[in-house]
Symmetry: C2
Subunit: 232 residues, 2 copies
Amino acid sequence: MTETVTAAGTSTGSKSEQAYAAVKARIIDGAYSPGYRLVLAKIAEDLGVSVVPVREAIRRLEAEGLVKFERNVGATVSGIDPTEYLYTMQTLSIIEGAATALSAPLIGEADIARARAVNAEMRDCLQHFDPVRFTQLNQDFHSVLFEHCPNPHILDLVHRGWNRLAALRSSTFRFVPGRAHQSVDEHEALLRLIETGASADDIEKAARLHRSATLDAYLAQAAATDHHTPQQ
Amino acid sequence: MTETVTAAGTSTGSKSEQAYAAVKARIIDGAYSPGYRLVLAKIAEDLGVSVVPVREAIRRLEAEGLVKFERNVGATVSGIDPTEYLYTMQTLSIIEGAATALSAPLIGEADIARARAVNAEMRDCLQHFDPVRFTQLNQDFHSVLFEHCPNPHILDLVHRGWNRLAALRSSTFRFVPGRAHQSVDEHEALLRLIETGASADDIEKAARLHRSATLDAYLAQAAATDHHTPQQ
DNA sequence: GTAATAGTTTTCGTATACGATTTCGTACTC
DNA sequence: GAGTACGAAATCGTATACGAAAACTATTAC
């Protein structure tokens, strides 16, 4: 009957869950861009549910940092702020570094091979200039590394960071070709470290630097183009 | 008028906020111990509000890992599980390590002096065997170190970890005197590293180890006393 | 005595409704 | 003409109510 077809095929049953997934998807894919005003009643109508589950969904998204909520005023899609980007990237570099180091001993040859295949495809994307697919593959690559992470809390933090980035990137942050080439090389170097059984410390440092370098590239570009801060 | 006096003097106005603060406080101070069944209607009545804001509060606490929520069944105070403790401590060691390293350059002489005073009082607590105050001072000590942390996301993660631990510790995990002495010494060592301007890397390692050592002490004790896992 | 089942109770999930708060527009005054 | 005050509209926050799902209990069949 009703079974409102939410963005992705999320038929978990709970209206609240549906609303959460739908709004989250729209934020991440950029349909709701940063600053967008999320009006409960409007979203509720769009999704064919009442405001209560929508409110719950919004607050959950707030806890994940995807929306900003103001008492008696309403919710807006968060993001934009370069400072926020810096915070997120810095946190992510730490978390991903740890996640990679913890996962490394559990990564087998098959995983390495799969990661290499993904990385090769990323190189292709650079030839054909396909930044969207590149970004997707980049996630796939890191997913291979992290899927064995023995600490679910850390894995959860990684995913949260990714979601934030996805929301930010989809609207404000540009693709930096020079950095992308370097990134692919760093992936290969990481894989070599892992398969040669490098120390956890070395792997962590490399993984951290991988993320930090992307941040630095962004900062450099921002400075170079005299990036005018889009205000909230 | 009404202004329901919630547990702590939390008169933020919003019922949802009140419920959140009240339930959180009860979990952390142990009034609601792990496994305790959180029935919406009952809590709502206790607090003198309706179920809607209580539900919102509970879900917020779920996002922070303090309660476990099951669809159509209800919420229980999470915790107990030693595995969960391990995950939390491991994550915290990483986050605190980074937080300390990032804060270090911003810590001044006054902060160091304050931290030393707290640490001295911790030593006293060991003489008089006052584990409750010791735990409080321990938080104070680390607060001094972290309060200058330039990345609010990381600081937030630290606080979340502490809350989880508080909820766990208050009911299940025991005070380990031997470890406590060592902990105080490590604090002093950390302060020396910071005031001598050691490298961020060294500070991070030391801070991480400080937390890891506590985890190890727990694991050793658990193994020694053949700690029988209290089931959910 | 045990297991399956039907009925009852508890508790959750969400729709609806209404009071409270903010915001926006308009008119009025200086 | 600019600023302020007042009123209307929009939106949030929460109480209440009811349907749905799960858990519990008692009963019956084997």
